[in-house]
């Protein structure tokens, strides 16, 4: 019996010690020293292979990358890139934990820039950019720097960008006697009501605009940019309880939902949620006169409804902030370099090519219907003067456009905000100011835990 007890204790002890030993960390942060010079990229550079992971899976996107990397290899034969598509943030974090991360990782969204930067998972590229003589503010628009910098560190670089706006059906606007897209929340409510067509049985044939937060890309309406609200104040405290503007967009949503009837909205969301990007999209079928979406939707509409006559405008702002009209939520794909890469300089060289090469950015932008992410590529892009694309470029360049602040909690704060909105829309929140205040406390709590590491 004693031997058995001893065996069990020894097993537990060994497993625990092994677990303690197998956790990464110890020393923490980024082990790579800042650089002061760039590598020589001439033919004398020893052959180097780096691994690049990306989230992309669609053939046209993957091919655009492969073509560009092949061009890069032709120009710099010493550099070989092993390109691996179909990897998400979770796969990347697991690879880091296992001690075998790729040299470069391309993520679909900037949700984890703050977390990876805080945890030392990725390189701070500031010194690399300086050594390569890249003037960051003059290369990348401010809206894309907001979601690639964390506490003064440039922990990622933008690779194309997304902006969000209001798509509207011109024929339906004309039929309803509306001459221009709405600029304020009041105008939006009035127009949405005018555009709504109800059936005799109370059901709705055409919705003006469905703003329910879980539908399509609508969660970005509530990111705070429309009301000039920031998730956090200067002290890093959540502002949901202190900034009354947070309630304005929620109230706009409630006004419209009450007008349509929550049952009708539920049917709309249930029916069209799986079809937001295909030919059954409600904006295409005529079930919605307006919709909120990202710029990539232009590409979808081009193939699904080439004859649809539609316009694009910035999403409205509260009535008392009309001077800010033109702003919008922005975010995009980001490039990271793993902090423990054996080839930091070579990886940066590849990242530099991918994030600043105008020809590549414009080719990729055409392939995936995104906005090029440097000033040069924006100027050179053949779509820049297209009436649809120009609206999104304006939103992207607007100094009032931004993405929510990045923190060490990664995407958890935004997901919790989504849950709060859904509870509010479901009628589970009776006292909105009090609930927002309580919610702010919860967000502060998860940030405290993350920062306390």
């Amino acid at each position: 019996m004693k031997r058995r007890t001893l065996l069990v204790t020894a097993t537990i002890g060994a497993a625990t010690l092994l677990a303690a030993g197998c956790t990464t960390g110890g020393g923490g942060g980024n082990p790579t020293q800042p650089v002061t010079s760039v590598i020589s990229t001439n033919a004398n550079h020893p052959p180097t292979t780096i691994t690049v992971w990306t989230f992309n899976t669609l053939a046209k996107e993957v091919n655009a990358f492969r073509d560009d990397l092949a061009r890069l290899h032709t120009k710099y034969p010493w550099l070989t890139v092993k390109f691996v598509p179909g990897k998400d943030d979770a796969a990347y974090a697991k690879a880091v934990a296992a001690g075998s991360p790729p040299d470069v990782f391309i993520s679909i969204a900037p949700d984890y820039v703050g977390q990876f930067c805080h945890n030392g998972t990725v390189l701070d590229l500031t010194s690399y950019l300086k050594a390569a003589n890249i003037d960051v503010p003059k290369t990348f628009p401010q809206a894309s720097l907001v979601y690639t910098q964390y506490r003064g560190k440039q922990c990622a670089l933008p690779l194309l960008t997304d902006a969000y706006g209001l798509y509207y059906n011109k024929a339906k606007f004309a039929a309803a006697g509306i001459t221009s897209p709405p600029k304020t929340y009041s105008e939006l409510v009035t127009d949405a009501k005018k555009l709504t067509v109800k059936n005799p049985d109370g059901s709705i044939k055409t919705f003006g605009l469905v703003t329910r937060s879980d539908f399509s890309s609508n969660n970005n309406i509530y990111s705070g940019v429309q009301t000039n609200s920031k998730f956090y104040d200067d002290q890093g405290k959540a502002t949901f309880g202190s900034d009354p503007n947070w309630a304005k967009t929620l109230e706009l949503d409630k006004t419209l939902q009450d007008y349509y009837g929550s049952g009708n909205v539920q049917k709309f969301v249930g029916r069209y949620q799986p079809h937001t990007d295909d030919a059954s999209n409600p904006f295409v079928t005529g079930a919605a006169a307006m919709e909120y979406d990202g710029e990539w939707h232009i590409g979808e509409l081009k193939s699904e409804a080439p004859n649809l006559d539609y316009g694009i405008a910035p999403f409205p702002v509260p009535d008392d902030q009309v001077s800010r009209y033109g702003v919008g939520n922005t975010q995009g794909t980001v490039l990271y370099i793993s902090s423990h890469t054996k080839h930091p300089q070579e990886s940066f060289f590849a990242v530099q090519q991918l994030s600043t090469d105008t020809a590549f950015l414009n080719t990729l932008a055409d392939a995936v219907s995104n906005i090029p992410s440097t000033f040069d590529s924006l100027t050179a892009w053949d779509q820049a003067n297209d009436p649809h694309w120009s609206q999104f470029i304006s939103i992207f360049k607007n100094p009032g456009s931004y993405y929510k602040e990045l923190t060490a909690v990664g995407g958890e704060d935004a997901v919790n905000w989504d849950q709060f909105k859904q509870n509010y829309e479901a009628g589970k929140v009776s006292d909105l100011p009090a609930a927002l205040k309580k919610f702010a406390g919860q967000i502060d709590s998860i940030n405290k835990q993350a920062n306390g590491r």
């Binding site: 097993t11 497993a15 625990t16 092994l18 677990a19 303690a20 956790t23 990464t24 960390g25 110890g26 020393g27 923490g28 942060g29 082990p31 998400d88 979770a90 990347y92 974090a93 697991k94 880091v96 934990a97 679909i108 969204a109 949700d111 977390q115 990876f116 805080h118 945890n119 030392g120 998972t121 879980d214 399509s216 890309s217 969660n219 539920q266 049917k267 969301v269 249930g270 029916r271 949620q273 799986p274 990007d277 423990h340 909690v409 990664g410 995407g411 958890e412 997901v415 919790n416 989504d418 849950q419 859904q422 509870n423 829309e425 919610f439 919860q442 998860i446 835990q449 306390g452 590491r453």
Partner: protein, 330 residues
């Protein structure tokens, strides 16, 4: 006669040679057994024992997958935060308990009912048994996807309901109907349990029913006093395994949420709609693999283990009052 000289007795020092041979042979056999078992033992140690105790250690740390910050021992902080600071923990607990309380008994009742129906069928019993059992052979993900198609708000079922003048609900896309939709799916796949009940029912001695007939018992009385006690061990098994499975309910909910809201990222779609499909294990997944809070997720996992263990002990102890074992020595 030849006299046999008696030799002086050899003093005994240790086991006799035969016993020693037996012991060394037994030792050799032991090593052979261990040798043959070693692939399994190594696998068990690497993939079960180590991860289990590693998560126990992690649950007391702030370990985050993918982080290069030093891991810190935080004691019971992760466990404390679960109860005091998590915004969704209790929602996940409520949803999981709802499924345990509603889905598990309904599955058992439905399995008993279908098994009972099958005992009544005289012609083509094998065909009907096969038909009823077939859904249990379909992989869970395929079943979930099939139900997502069938229960689409504009899908086949609502179309049929529409012809009957009934406006069908949003099923998986409607928070009020999402869990009942999963229950419906669970009832469809009840074949495994049904087969056990069918075997148990057919095993109840017919003499008992004949005696009840002579006593004038009606159908309900026969079911209540003969069939139910006869199949009570299977009811116990069904409820116990169903409870354990449902506490760890994951795949169906994960697929249903993701399919109802394909445009959201996976961490946003977990629990969709409105957290109605947020279960304990899906929340563990999100904390561990979406937020990379490995220590916190490990604490959640260990808490679940303790709860399941306690519920199992209580259930087994309580079963002595109502489970009847015909061959048991009392």
């Amino acid at each position: 006669m030849t006299s046999v000289a008696t030799r002086p007795a050899i003093p005994v020092r240790g086991p006799a040679p035969a016993a020693r041979r037996r012991r060394s042979a037994s030792k050799a056999r032991w090593w052979v057994v261990v040798g043959f078992l070693s692939p399994f033992l190594i696998g068990l140690a690497l993939f079960v024992v180590y991860p289990v105790f590693a998560t126990l250690y992690y649950s007391f740390t702030n370990y985050q997958a993918g982080s290069y910050l030093a891991t810190r021992w935080v004691g019971f902080e992760n466990y404390r935060n679960l109860f005091t600071q998590s915004t969704v923990f209790w929602e996940a607990v409520r949803n999981t308990l709802w499924m345990v309380a509603i889905m598990v008994p309904l599955q058992t009742l439905w399995a008993i009912f279908t098994a009972w129906i099958l005992t009544r069928i005289k012609r083509g019993a094998v065909i009907y048994r096969t038909i009823f059992f077939l859904p249990a052979m379909v992989p869970i993900v395929a079943t979930a996807l099939a139900f997502i198609v069938m229960l689409n708000p504009v899908g086949p079922l609502n179309s049929i309901l529409g012809h009957a003048g009934i406006s069908g609900p949003g099923w998986f896309s409607d928070a009020a109907w999402a869990k009942p939709s999963l229950v419906l799916m669970a009832l469809w796949t009840v074949g495994n349990t049904m087969i056990l009940f069918l075997a148990a029912m057919l095993d109840v001695p017919t003499a008992l029913y004949e005696a009840a007939d002579i006593d004038g018992a009606n159908a309900w009385q026969k079911f209540r006093h003969i069939t139910l006690p006869g199949i009570s061990p299977v009811i116990f098994f069904s409820l116990l395994t169903g409870m354990i499975y449902t506490f760890q309910y994951f795949t169906e909910a994960f697929v249903a949420s993701g399919s109802a809201n394909p445009i959201l990222s996976s961490n946003q779609s977990i629990g969709y709609p409105q957290d109605s499909l947020l279960f304990y294990t899906t929340e563990i997944y999100r904390q561990g693999f979406q937020y990379f809070k490995t220590g916190y997720a490990s604490a959640m996992a260990w808490l679940l283990f303790v709860v399941i263990f306690l519920c199992t002990v209580v259930f087994i102890r309580g079963s002595r009052r109502w489970v009847y074992y015909a061959g048991a020595v009392r």
